[in-house]
């Protein structure tokens, strides 16, 4: 690259989109070939997809007949007809306001916590961690305050997916931190238990753990002690994600220099304060991208609960796809596309949010030492 040697306030830069394209897309023969190949690939895939998903799509209609024509694209009429089920599963229609309330409180709470500058984060955070799960549980399952009982077997769709994902995400961080600390503990019993747990869980696919929780556990536990199937699945997901989180956090702990531990100890801070105030804030900050990555993986893994018989977002769509009432050549494809779009929307938001957080959260960037 040719650079003028004159001193200028701004780095030299071509003007306008044409210059940008020349510098970035067509700077060398190889680069030009890559650009053309990429354009070709997009040309082959994108227009047919848009045709199928939007232009030739059927947007409304009461029955499957609207989507039976041979050249039909996506059958959004099917999604529209099943939308309530996709969101709530088989939750009773008259009681759906309860699920809505849970959604709305959750959305407001998360928005509040995620937006820098809003006040009372500590109080809201405590509310979301302690009161919100209880409120949600009472609202959703009922049986108190004159609310009708809705058994968890009826919860489904996006509601269930979010319940599983949020429980897993929220439980995995503190559990993972404890496991990571335990793994580095000086007490052999604690250390061995933590290592054993982490290595066992990491060596087994989530689906096996879910099967164990749903089928195997009831065989071992005494009759009457068998608790709700959904609860078992939630515990399984939380423990599974905690083991992964533990390894992520451990990576962060290892990145904190020994001098930080020594400085904290020499001030008389004691183990928990040293960890909570000095070590973990630094460790978690360094591994923030991996933490979010684990969250995203977990969010997608929740779809495995459909295999043990839950009608989560994916499960309910699969059930709908198989329903003869809406059986058309495009039903299944449309259903999966919709499920993918919803999963993508959630995961992409998480990833964007974490990227934004990394760029904008204040804090000392350079290390304390200069050596």
């Amino acid at each position: 690259m040719a650079r003028t040697s004159t001193v200028s306030a701004k780095p030299p830069r071509g003007a306008g989109p044409i210059a940008w394209m020349r510098d970035n897309l067509f700077s060398s023969p190889f680069n030009t070939a890559l650009t053309l190949a990429a354009l070709g690939l997009l040309w082959i895939t994108v227009p047919p997809f848009i045709n199928w998903a939007f232009i030739n799509a059927v947007w409304s209609g009461e029955t499957r007949d609207v989507c039976m024509a041979p050249e039909t694209g996506a059958c959004w009429a099917y999604i529209a007809a099943r939308f309530d089920q996709i969101v709530y599963g088989f939750y009773e229609k008259a009681e759906r306001w309860r699920a809505d309330a849970v959604f709305i409180i959750g959305a407001i709470g998360i928005f509040w916590l995620a937006t820098p500058g809003l006040r009372a984060k500590r109080a809201i955070g405590a509310f979301m961690l302690i009161a919100y799960p209880v409120i949600s549980y009472v609202l959703l399952s009922g049986g108190l305050f004159g609310l009708d009982v809705v058994p968890s077997a009826k919860w489904g769709g996006l509601l269930l997916t979010l319940i599983v994902a949020v429980t897993g995400i929220v439980a995995s961080l503190p559990l993972g931190i404890l496991l990571a600390l335990g793994r580095r503990s000086k007490l052999p019993v604690v250390r061995i238990l933590c290592i054993g747990f982490i290595e066992f869980v990491r060596g087994v696919p989530l689906i096996t753990i879910l099967f164990m929780a749903s089928n195997l556990l009831p065989l071992f536990l005494p009759e009457g002690l068998v608790f709700d199937k959904l609860l078992r699945a939630l515990v399984a997901v939380a423990l599974f994600s905690a083991a992964y989180m533990a390894e992520v956090v451990r990576g962060g702990l290892q990145a904190v220099p020994q001098g930080q531990y020594e400085a904290a100890a020499s001030l008389g801070l004691g183990y928990w304060r040293m960890m909570g105030l000095i070590i973990l804030p630094q460790a978690l900050k360094t591994v923030m991208p991996s933490i979010v990555n684990t969250f995203i993986g977990l969010f997608k893994d929740t779809s495995l609960v459909s295999i043990i018989g839950f009608s989560d977002l994916l499960g309910i769509i699969q059930k709908g796809n198989a329903d003869p009432e809406w059986s058309t050549p495009v039903t299944a494809t449309t259903g999966y596309l919709f499920a993918a779009a919803i999963f993508w929307a959630f995961c992409f938001s998480m990833s964007r949010y974490s990227a934004w957080l990394e760029r904008n959260v204040a804090g000392g960037k350079a290390g304390a030492g200069k050596t």
Binding site: E262, A264, S266, L267, R273, G364, A366, A368, K370
Partner: protein, 253 residues
Amino acid sequence: MTANADPATAPLIELSHVSKWFGNFQALKDVSLTVQTGERIVICGPSGSGKSTLIRCINRLEEHQAGTIRVNGVELTHNLKRIDEVRRDVGMVFQQFNLFPHLTVLENCTLAPIWVRKMPKAAAEKAAMEYLDRVHIADQAKKYPGQLSGGQQQRAAIARSLCMTPKIMLFDEPTSALDPEMIAEVLEVMVDLAEGGMTMICVTHEMAFARKVADCIIFMADGEIVERAPPSAFFENPREERTKKFLSQILEH
């Protein structure tokens, strides 16, 4: 606590026959040392002689395996609570500063007073600002450590220790990681502290500083205290051959 002797005359720090091993390697060999309140001690010696190990045993960043260490009347044992008590009263300044990079300078200074001494935040901040002023970096209080020069960071680290109002300050080569032009500003702060009557143990090779403030200089080699003497005797009239050799090496530069 063990009230063994009259607190007015009992030494603040008392090491007797302390030994320490790293695996099979003996880093401290039967070291005995007493430090009275207000005494200022400089430790020097070749690299690997056990200087850091010795002062790190005093606040139990390292554990000794034989002998006894008493600090402020408390014997250092496996009792973690007592160790934390001792550490509150023993400030330590490290070669690499070890400021907390995720906290501002002011927060670095107020963290321990608030969480360990249970001081109200406002009082802790007021006290911290006074100490930061004393080390001439009050204007940097709101910055993060990474935004400060090395000399400023080390002075912030000294202020952080002082905020706990320690009875003893330990310095482990506080100026060795600094560029020459910043050494003076840190030494100046340390001289000021010494003149204020602080009990200090400094591992340093700044011999001009040692001559100026030390009550006594300790020369260590191979995990042993080879010589202990007041500065004048130590520099003009060293008894041991190893001390002479070390001094000739270090004073050459």
